[in-house]
């Protein structure tokens, strides 16, 4: 397959769907979504709880409902997609190699590629928990899939390690289906989940949240029989002698998500401090014409922001292939580039660089903070000049933050080479 102006979208989850719709609406004629699952919608298909779409649709939808609205639009716009299709490789010249049982192995020489592969869950192997290797240890998302799509109960008496949102949601789900959730243990002194989930998934059912605790032993030969939960000191390591044994048959791990980077790496895309690709103001990676959005770029707290970001990526990709069709090579040499630098409690930013010539009138910079801070100021510096200084009652690692930069402010300051985003006490 050879189609120099095709936008190939890798992944048909929330990011891929929104990117495709936006690319189409911005004039792109040839778009193809490649999805490895047997249906579109990605992880939303197993997120049957409500709370999605409050920003986008002004109502609280469940995951399948939220995905459904985008899937309907993709179909109404006649955007082609291939299901059950695994992308094997993306080369630096944007040749996408994929396979499925209908087409066999095939290649597409794409005009632009949008990376929308999402995340994977951090597995047990990444945690170094001592103990045996019995059955009954699941990542929270695997348990969610088993219960919500396939109709299996993962266990009857459950301990959950990690208080990310999926872990909290699963604590409630398991309880509603008759399991006993004994505790949720969280290594950090604060939860990584949304406050609303702590209240409605744990407090509602009297499930204890053990902050600064972790699992220090897993016992049982064929099936989990118990786990030991210990207190964690200020240095992050377990305090000897504090271990308490919890009898259970199941341990769920909700200990973070990692962007799925294999294809990005193969393409030669540079990765950064989000764990995903480094992108500029157009959500374009270091390879011209390769864009990234959604959880493969950085882990989002709300799907609404994924859709918004993906719509931008789709728009920029449409603009890029339009430029190609006019014979415009990517003109980046000599263009002014401003770095976005996270400092003092700001863990990362998206984007990482901004080209004032290419940016919209206003640009949203999203970031996450490294800790829970109360009564703190979020400050933005253009060069050495502080242009924003906003007081926040609280910021937390579990919730994404954002600031808005005006293009005119950068054009007015031609010498500025750096935008700094930092937290300040006053």
């Amino acid at each position: 397959m050879r189609s120099e102006n095709t936008i190939v979208i890798i992944g048909g989850g929330p990011a891929g769907l929104a990117a495709a719709i936006s690319a189409k609406k911005n004039g792109a004629e040839n778009i193809l979504i490649l999805e490895r699952d047997r249906e579109l919608g990605g992880i939303l298909n197993q997120c049957i709880h409500n709370g999605f779409g409050l920003h986008t649709f002004k109502e609280e939808l469940t995951g399948p409902e939220y995905a459904g609205r985008f899937i309907e639009e993709v179909k109404a716009l006649g955007i082609p997609y291939k299901l059950n299709t695994m992308v094997l490789d993306i080369s630096p010249d944007k040749t996408v190699t994929a396979m499925n049982s209908e087409d066999g192995l095939f290649e597409i020489k794409a005009g632009a590629v949008i990376l929308c592969m999402g995340c994977r869950e951090r597995p047990r192997g990444a945690l170094s928990i001592p103990g045996t290797r019995p059955s009954g240890i699941y990542s929270a998302g695997t348990a969610q899939r088993l219960m919500n799509r396939e109709g299996f109960m993962p266990g009857k008496i459950v301990v959950i390690l990690g208080s990310g949102d999926i872990g909290l949601i699963m604590a409630r789900r398991l309880t509603l289906e008759g399991a006993e959730v004994k505790a949720v243990a969280e290594l950090m002194p604060y939860s990584g989940g949304l406050k609303r989930n702590i209240v409605q998934c744990l407090d509602d059912y009297g499930i204890p949240l053990l902050l600064s605790h972790t699992v220090t032993d897993i016992r049982g030969k064929d099936r989990v029989e118990s786990v030991v939960i210990s207190e964690v000191g200020p240095d992050g390591s377990p305090v000897p002698g504090t271990g308490k044994e919890y009898e259970c048959d199941t341990l769920l791990l909700s200990v973070g998500l990692l962007p799925e980077n294999e294809l990005s790496k193969a393409a030669g895309v540079k990765l950064g401090s989000t764990g995903g690709p480094v992108v500029n103001e157009s959500l374009e990676t270091g390879i011209p014409g390769v864009f990234a959005c959604g959880n493969v770029l950085h882990v989002h707290d709300l799907v609404d922001y994924v859709s918004e970001e993906a719509a931008n990526a789709g728009r920029h990709a449409a603009k890029y292939v339009e430029g190609l069709s006019r014979g415009e090579a990517a003109k980046t040499a000599g263009q002014r580039t401003v770095d976005v630098v996270p400092e003092n409690g700001v863990r990362y930013t998206v984007p990482v660089t901004v080209r004032p010539d290419r940016m919209d009138e206003e640009l949203t910079i999203r970031f996450r903070v490294a800790n829970v801070y109360k009564n703190i100021f979020v400050s933005v510096y253009l060069g050495e000049e502080r242009v924003q200084h906003r007081k926040r009652p609280v910021v937390a690692p579990g919730e994404m933050e954002q600031v808005t930069i005006k293009r005119q402010d950068l054009l007015d300051r031609p010498d500025v080479k750096k935008i700094t985003i930092r937290l300040e006490e006053e």
């Binding site: 049957i48 409902e65 799509r149 396939e150 509602d204 009652p393 937390a396």
Partner: protein
């Protein structure tokens, strides 16, 4: 005098709110930082409600055996488990459209259980 402690879900601040009641009527609300906290606390103490989401079995589905469903609106928190009980053993046949009513007026709440996904028939 009775005191109830709750965590506000309005924002990440998560204020610890104390509501003082006398004969089931609210005497005072304390600990909230903003008016949203007070509104939340009053509702939560007098008539807490939740949306319930779960699944039912779907036959002849082209994909999964589970059909996701939800209450089409909030129901009293105290009826969550009877609602779950009502969903046990419910089986529907594909095709099903998002919004199709699966159970009318579940547990006398006046709220229907509706499908939250469109499932095609396996041909």
């Amino acid at each position: 005098m009775e005191k109830k402690e709750l965590t506000c879900i309005g924002c990440p601040l998560g204020c610890q709110i104390t509501v003082t009641l006398e004969n089931d009527s609210i005497v005072s609300v304390a600990g909230n930082t903003c008016p949203r906290g007070e509104t939340y606390a009053r509702k939560e103490v007098t008539a807490p409600e939740r949306v319930v989401t779960s699944t039912v079995t779907v036959l002849d589905s082209s994909l999964d055996t589970c059909l996701p469903v939800k209450t089409d609106g909030t129901i009293p928190k105290g009826k969550i488990f009877s609602c779950m009980q009502a969903l046990k053993g419910i089986t529907v046949k594909a095709p099903v459209r998002t919004g199709d009513v699966i159970i009318e007026n579940v547990c006398g709440t006046g709220v229907d259980i509706i499908a939250t996904k469109t499932v095609e028939q396996n041909l």
